[in-house]
Amino acid sequence: MASRTSTVGSRAKRGLVSLGWALGGVLVAILLWEGVKVLGSIITLPFETSDQAMPHVWSIVSGAMQPEVRGSDTPVWQTVLIAAIYTLVIAFGGFLIGVAVGLLLAIVMQRFAFFERGLLPFVIASQTVPLIALAPLIVGIGNRISIGPFEWGQTQSIMFIAAYLAFFPLSVGALRGLQAATPTQVELMRSYAATPRQALWKLRFPASIPYLVPALKVSAAAAVVGTVVAQISTGGRGGIGRLIIEYARETTAQPAKVYVAVIGAVIVGLLAAGLVALLDLYLTRNLPKETLT
């Protein structure tokens, strides 16, 4: 027991160190941004570095404090924050659906070699369809679905697209993970007359964790990207994707505004990554540290 607490303790310490690095990274990004602007004023760079195209960090911050529309009480940052939370919720929904579908596919593919051969090419092919082409299609088909009190709306379409992007890395990672138990461990389970379900729960699933955790990280990122891009391409209201388009149109008047929305999207991504990191900490609590990714 003592060793377990010390493991958690050192994990927490490592977490603090990573947080320090992350904050350092933000500082470096700010310095680079301003550095490029300074450089652009001295020599000619192949891209625009004017205040119109790349507003100063402090202009972005003050842009975030401006009222959303002239005379309104809500500052830009508040609108962005609400949109970011909305996007995060949709992305989370898409992530959950994607994880569920991905896991199910992986379990079926692991269990029946026939499905692995038959299904895996389609799983891979699914990701070669460009999202931009897919989005209007899904909205178009979705709008015709209505089962009883359930109406398929734009939100469902966006969540579907997020799930569509999220299931892939998860199913591939989970499949590798479910196949990661050693032949000896598999034989051992067989010698105990374990049913396939018992073998899955007591051996294959826990043995897949080192593969599952990185897959979850990629899936979470894919769900966020999917949600934002789907919101942009479908014009879904309320999300950060829609805000990015709207604010982009206002660049001439308020060049800083669109960057506030972009930072909002980045924060959604970071929050998603943070949630998965917590999940990681929980899932790998019993594993030796050196096998972790």
Partner: protein, 270 residues
């Protein structure tokens, strides 16, 4: 038949039968293992000793021939948890504590929580690892991990232990200590053991009989009875020990007289 731990008769195992990569892993193998008997299977790689062990364990089906384990079919024996198994890799589950690793077969056999905890602690005491019950397997040395694996193989109090080079990855010192421990445990529990090994001294030291196998096709060529009485510190240096080692070595080189039609039957050796 009920007095026999393992009874195999005319067992053949042919992989990819009929295909051009056909391999005859076992050819007409017959072997009996009595209750409480310790039998080693020895032979070069590819002689089918591991295959025979897996056929007995119902991990793979024989192509032809009949096998019974503890008086029932291997399948029934497996379903009823009548044998325990240990491999060269301890194959412990990293995410479980040592105690919960030993409990695994009991969980699958449907034991309730308190009973299996008590049983696991009792077994860990037997392999002198009671102080490590709450440790994770990866915190233990190779020898300790293998002791956990042996405790786990004994969990359901099986009639037979099937072991596939369980000490193969251990250093010589640890190995000899583990051999003594295994003999003590199998004697105390009255468990019959079928033990696959590459090591002649190991086979001789542990066994009542050493079954010598030969490859292409995998078959039993000799059965060497070993009578060293009670094993102790001096056994490994006794003349009788060296005589038996020589007998097994000669058999492996194919110099001794091969066994006849009946294979490794109990009656011929005792």
């Amino acid at each position: 038949m009920s007095t026999l731990a393992v009874h195999a008769e005319g067992v053949w195992k042919i992989f990819n039968e009929g295909a051009n990569n056909e391999v005859t892993a076992l050819s007409d193998v017959s072997i009996d293992v009595g209750k409480g008997e310790f039998v080693s299977l020895i032979g070069p790689s590819g002689c089918g000793k591991s295959t025979l062990l897996r056929v007995i364990a119902d991990l793979i089906p024989p192509t032809r021939g009949s096998v019974s384990v503890a008086g029932v079919t291997p399948h029934e024996a497996r379903e009823k948890h009548q044998y325990g198994m240990a491999f060269q890799q301890a194959a412990l589950l990293d995410w479980r504590t040592v105690r919960r690793n030993v409990e695994l077969p009991l969980e699958l056999a449907g034991w309730d929580k308190d009973k299996r905890k008590a049983r696991a602690l009792e077994l860990l005491e037997m392999v002198q690892l009671q102080d490590f019950a709450d440790h994770r397997p990866w915190e233990l040395s190779g020898g300790m991990q293998q002791r956990v694996a042996i405790a786990r193989s004994l969990a359901t109090d099986p009639e037979i232990l099937l072991m596939d080079e369980p000490f193969g990855a251990l250093d010589e010192m640890t190995r000899e200590r583990m051999q003594n421990e295994l003999l003590r445990i199998s004697k105390a529990t009255g468990t019959s053991v079928v033990f696959v090994t590459h090591s002649i001294p190991e086979a001789v030291y542990l066994s009542n009989r050493v079954v010598v196998m030969s490859p292409r096709p995998g078959r039993i060529t000799h059965v060497v009875a070993v009578d060293l009485g009670e094993r102790n510190e001096d056994t490994r240096e006794s003349d009788a020990f060296y005589d038996s080692v020589t007998a097994v070595r000669e058999a492996l080189r194919g110099r001794a007289t091969p066994v006849g039609e009946g294979g490794a039957r109990l009656a011929e050796t005792s």
